[in-house]
């Protein structure tokens, strides 16, 4: 049996990674570039804003309120041991605004809207619809990818803000209404502990996550026909799975990197 050529394998893997990263950067740059140059971007972006933003609103409200309620419960039983239940408002609001709001919103949107982007564009790719656009001299990047990128850049921060707000209300439901913490103390702590930097940090994270999710999901669908592991409908399925997995990993990696810079 021949021994595997380890340096060649490592080199090949590295080259493939660099190639993929370069491809991803070019794809993102082209997608962003067409946002500013495509004349009919507004109508398409509004439509995508409805799909990515408005249609995800109920999910974000649901997850946000339960997330806040759980944080309220966990926070209360931890803080009560140190006689600091008055800090519950601070704990919930900072956790949500700095971390959980942007991350959970992005992961929820990846599952709901990102997977749909990958699947829809993937189906268009394997059924010749993207080729048809190119033949009609309609730039498929400008037609399909840029509106989704633009809509994500608007929807992610907005939905994150809604998630944060509803999460704080969820914490209020458990902390104030169920566990009888003083209502004034709850809101006083929020107002005095949350700074503009915290809000700005959450906003920056949500914008970066929007870029990651939209570009990864669109690219997976757009290049579904080039997959080596499968063809046809199976390739669309695998592209969708890859889109969700890669997006979620990227969200968590980017979150760590951004947090280390923002703190």
């Amino acid at each position: 049996m021949a021994f595997p050529n380890i340096p060649a394998a490592v080199g090949g893997l590295t080259l493939r990674w660099i190639d993929a990263l370069g491809g991803f950067a070019l794809f993102l740059a082209a997608g962003l570039g067409h946002i500013f140059t495509s004349p009919k971007i507004l109508g398409r972006t509004l439509r995508q804003l409805y799909v990515i933003g408005a249609q995800s609103l109920f999910l974000i409200l649901l997850i946000g309120v339960f997330c806040g309620m759980v944080l309220g419960l966990q926070g209360y039983y931890t803080l009560v041991q140190f006689g600091s239940v008055g800090m519950l408002g601070s704990a919930i609001s900072l956790t949500l605004i700095r971390e959980l709001g942007p991350v959970l919103t992005a992961i929820m949107l990846t599952g709901r809207a990102g997977s749909a982007m990958a699947a829809e564009i993937g189906v268009m790719r394997i059924s010749d619809q993207i080729d048809a656009l190119d033949v009609m001299d309609i730039n498929s990047m400008a037609y399909l990818v840029s509106p989704r990128l633009a809509a994500s850049l608007i929807a992610f921060p907005l939905l994150t803000a809604i998630f944060d707000t509803i999460g704080i209300i969820g914490g209020y439901l458990t902390g104030v209404l169920m566990l009888n913490i003083n209502e004034g103390a709850y809101f006083y702590r929020i107002v005095h502990s949350v700074t503009l930097d915290d809000v700005l940090g959450g906003f920056i994270k949500s914008v970066v996550f929007a870029l990651c999710v939209a570009s990864v999901c669109c690219r997976q669908g757009y290049l579904a026909h080039l997959r080596r592991d499968s063809v046809g409908p199976e390739a669309v399925g695998n592209a969708t799975t890859s889109a969700v997995v890669v997006s979620c990993v990227l969200i968590l990696v980017a979150d760590y990197v951004l947090t280390s810079f923002l703190l």
């Binding site: 059924s127 619809q129 048809a132 190119d134 033949v135 001299d137 309609i138 037609y143």
Partner: protein, 280 residues
């Protein structure tokens, strides 16, 4: 590049392949193709499955670049044109993809009008009128507000044809327009293509097909491919009179040796297991 002088009534554009080697990546599917498809005529590209018909079509419409050789369209070396001229030339092509390739999120009228809505600043009612006109030509006017998934395969193909002609192309390319259709619908599709060509006589029409029935109805010219090579290029009468054994077998739909069916009896163990399962 002088393309704008090609107005209605002018001569059709020839499509010429010079030593064309084409495929995917470095894998050649077609090699050494030398042929000319006459302008203003209907050319049918025939050949068995996997012989490279669709690959050739993808190269004519510029979706893939040749590995070697040239494709001349209307006298222009298509793949050596500057990007702007390449796109200008491709705008003059209309393509009917195999399943129509209609955008699922748009109605039929919106699909058909797409080239106009994307490139021209015409009032909405003018665009709608233009879409209805071509939908009427393919007998789909009543389905203008339907979505593609509400239509049959034949209707989607006709709608794809309507979209292909709305910008009045100089070259119309059709990928398997009759595949998957019942004989009557397929015959209607052929008749429609013929009528379309009569309406736009300067239009060069290229139809990729393996449907021999289409040959008699629509073809002015035939290119036959076999295993990635052009084995015939000429008028249909010449093809029918050809003494080439492959062409004669192809036209007669003679399958040749059907295999050793008699010498390959079923495995008795499998047959017994199947019999037990079927009796359950």
């Amino acid at each position: 590049m002088e393309t704008d002088h090609m107005t209605a009534g002018a001569d059709g554009w020839d499509i010429v392949f010079r030593d064309l080697t084409a495929g995917y990546g470095n894998r050649a599917v077609l090699s050494g193709i030398n042929a000319a498809l006459p302008g203003g005529k209907v050319t049918v590209i025939l050949g068995g499955s996997g012989c490279g018909k669709s690959t050739l079509l993808r190269h004519i419409i510029g979706l893939s670049r040749p590995i070697a050789g040239q494709i001349l369209i209307g006298g222009h070396d298509f793949f050596n044109l500057p990007d702007k001229d390449f796109r200008r030339l491709r705008r003059r092509m209309g393509v009917l993809f195999q399943d129509g390739a209609l955008l699922g999120a748009l109605t039929l009228a919106q699909n058909v009008a797409l080239p106009l809505t994307e490139h021209l600043n015409l009032p909405r009612e003018v665009v709608r009128r233009a879409a209805l006109r071509v939908l009427r030509m393919v007998e789909l006017e009543d389905f203008a507000d339907f979505y593609p998934n509400e239509l049959s395969g034949g209707m989607r193909k006709r709608a794809g044809l309507a979209r292909a002609i709305i910008a009045e192309p100089r070259i119309l390319l059709c990928d398997e327009p009759t595949s998957g259709l019942d004989p009557i619908t397929a015959a209607r599709m052929d008749a429609l293509l013929k009528a379309m060509h009569a309406f736009y006589p300067a239009m060069t029409v290229v139809v990729v097909s393996h449907d021999l029935a289409s040959l008699d109805v629509i073809a002015d010219h035939v290119l036959v491919l076999r295993d990635g090579a052009a084995v015939f290029n000429g008028p249909p009468d010449e093809l029918k009179a050809s003494s080439d054994p492959y062409l004669r077998e192809f036209l007669r739909r003679n399958p040749g040796d059907a295999g050793n069916l008699a010498h390959t009896p079923p495995d008795p163990e499998v047959s017994a297991a199947l019999a037990r399962w079927l009796e359950k």
